[in-house]
Symmetry: C2
Subunit: 419 residues, 2 copies
């Protein structure tokens, strides 16, 4: 037998406590969980000064870019936003106990499929301290215990936020072990979490590609991960030109760093000459660069030529790939070849073409006449999300409270035995 490392021992203790807490939580009514969330919100507000002091230590130690520093830095308003976020989650419908199916067999057995918590969730995230508070709220509401491992940059902030949340938890009478944080920023703790088969039921990584790839590579536990979002907007021959301009500009440039941002514009050859120049002009006015195929450059000659990999690039920046295609099937073929089954849109006034696109695509989210940036839990009406899932099992797209549940069956009989 190998000797357990300190990280593995700690994780085992934390996970066992989390398991017990999750069993308690699974039996609570929504009133108990919602009351706890509201008390935790108050505790966050009451601990604002401690949280800001801890955060100042993290910011003082930070050596990275200004953009990351801004995401790391808390203010009274950001603490208040976290507290408000907890109250918002408390106000959402209870995801537990929903009867997902209910049928009775010829032998009289009544079978019900009921939404139930997953159990113990491990959340591994980077940088933004509010992610810990959001994840804690969503996990608690959905009856799951959570073990949080934030980035080393936000270690003090995460600990102070957790202390406030646990203070609220205890005041509400729920076990502290519902929400736990990693004891340090040691990478061995991440390894212990990823190896925790039987201890942790689900790992959710939230961060940059290297974090997500490490998690997917190493995890011996199921993972709900967000990998690439190479999203397309396809302007069909029957698109309303003004609508196409608005949807492309919004899909690409509203925010370029989000996973639902359009990375590639496809446009039908039949309307490219008429519509591409104004679409390009709109994007250019917003600061966008282009990587265009030969046909697009024949129409707007000053676009930069696309190279072999551009159509496979998730820009997450003010750059868009532009390709000319011949109809819905060609657009679908392009997307099947270069896309990541994340979010893809068609703009058209032709219902048959739209339905052909929606039926023929495999993306988690397929839109007709709307911006790809709608791929978001809030926009779906989920109230809050813990991330976007790009795998194919359990959940696809925005992961809200419902997606943080699983199910079990209850069967009611009157003495049935099996033949």
């Amino acid at each position: 037998m190998h000797i357990e490392t300190e990280a593995t021992q700690h994780l085992r203790r934390a996970a066992n406590a989390a398991r017990e807490a999750s069993r308690h939580l699974a039996k609570t009514g929504e009133d108990t969980r919602n009351a706890a969330l509201r008390i935790m919100a108050t505790a966050l507000r009451d601990h604002t000064q401690e949280i800001l002091t801890a955060n100042a230590a993290d910011v003082g130690n930070f050596n990275g870019s200004n953009a990351f520093r801004d995401r790391l830095t808390l203010s009274p308003a950001r603490v208040e936003a976290m507290a408000k976020g907890l109250e918002d989650v408390a106000a959402l419908p209870d995801p537990l106990g929903r009867v997902l199916a209910d049928w009775t067999r010829p032998n009289g057995l009544n079978i019900r499929r009921i939404a139930t918590p997953i159990g113990v969730i491990g959340m591994i995230y980077e940088s933004r301290p509010n992610v810990g508070a959001d994840a804690s709220a969503l996990c608690l509401k959905s009856g799951n215990a959570v073990i949080l491992r934030g980035g080393s940059d936000s270690l003090h902030s995460a600990a102070a936020i957790n202390a406030a949340l646990v203070n609220g938890l205890e005041a509400s009478g729920l076990p502290r072990a519902c929400i736990q944080v990693a004891p340090n920023a040691d990478r061995a703790y991440v390894a212990a979490m990823l190896a925790g088969a039987g201890l942790i039921d689900l790992i959710i990584p939230r961060g940059g590609r290297s974090l997500v790839e490490r998690v997917q590579q190493e995890a011996r536990v199921p993972v709900l991960a967000h990998a690439e979002g190479l999203c397309h907007t396809y302007v069909h021959a029957a698109a309303d030109p003004a609508m196409a301009r608005a949807i492309v500009a919004n899909g690409k440039m509203r925010r370029t760093g989000v996973c639902g941002a359009t990375e590639t514009l496809l446009i039908d050859r039949a309307v490219a000459a008429a519509q591409l120049p104004s679409i390009v002009a709109d994007l250019r006015a917003l600061g966008c660069d282009f990587r265009a195929d030969t046909a697009a450059r024949a129409i707007v000659p000053d676009l930069t030529a696309a190279n072999d990999t551009d159509f496979d690039t998730e820009w997450l920046d003010s750059t868009i790939s532009v390709g000319v295609v011949d109809g819905v099937d060609a657009a679908l073929a392009h997307i099947a070849r270069h896309g990541t089954s994340h979010t893809d849109a068609i703009v058209t006034e032709d219902t048959a073409a739209a339905e052909r696109f929606l039926a023929g695509i495999d993306s988690a989210v397929a839109l007709w006449n709307a911006s790809t940036q709608f791929c978001d839990g809030g926009e779906f009406g989920f109230g809050a999300e813990i991330g976007i899932a790009t795998g194919r099992l359990h959940a696809r797209g925005p992961v809200g409270l419902e997606q943080l549940t699983t199910y079990r069956y209850t069967i009611r009989g009157n003495g049935q035995v099996r033949a």
Copy 2:
């Protein structure tokens, strides 16, 4: 870069062909898939002689137990049963295209969650050749391409069955790559499948514990596995004595080797003296052995004493652990400590006790006044099952056609852009 092994190269080609086939399959209507299943059934019947000849070679090479030899051996009736199984799957409702949710946001976006195939499934199974035909049928019906890797004992049988099925597939106009088999019994092929992240979307292992554990340990791909089923039947103080006898005897002894078999009997102290002797007598008459705690042995002294691990043992045989408990909460605590969250039953006439049990347990299947042996896709009305899932994500309990699907969203707008 490391050099790809022959197995990895073969798997990559097979998986790429499967991906293309799965995309084709996802767009087919149910009529097409059902017609193919019926043609495949005919092809199986037409190839009975070839299948039996291949099977005879496997049986001739076989060196294991008689029980395994029996499971391996095909007959004209067993080939007919496989063919009938394909027709039964054809007759089931289409699992694809179901609208799982449908709502409209205040901004007018209509969001629908639609059942869709998972994609490419890898099935790794042992011994019984009919598993390959069943899995092929369920995957095809649910729009998934499948790569089958049977056990080395049934290699010739699997190849002959597959040849017949593919013959039927092609006659129906669907791509051959919808159903593929591993080229040999090399364990490296299993390793390639398990390492096939991005190539295979889901691995389903079906076989003994060592196979399942290897798959869970090595897989870099999501797994829907069947691990342990340590099922309990709890006879509550308010149980109907005759019903309790029937349910315990059936739960334990109907078939002892199935995952839903009762492995532990718990009985309330208040009724143990009155009811345990007759329950024991019934089981003993059916050939069952006992491992009993002190309190049970105080009532029926000739029961064998349970040791420290007996209550943690999945017997899968004619042995049952017997424990005396004090009420529902004690039974739940015992099950939480020793159970595997698979299938557990309570026998009682007390509705409040039953509901407390059903609400307080975490098992995939919790029964009231019915035998644990009802944990079965056919008994659930699924028509057929590819296995029973013991994980917590995506599916729990019997895995039928619905559980072989995932979902995607279609969103219909009229020009919405995100603020």
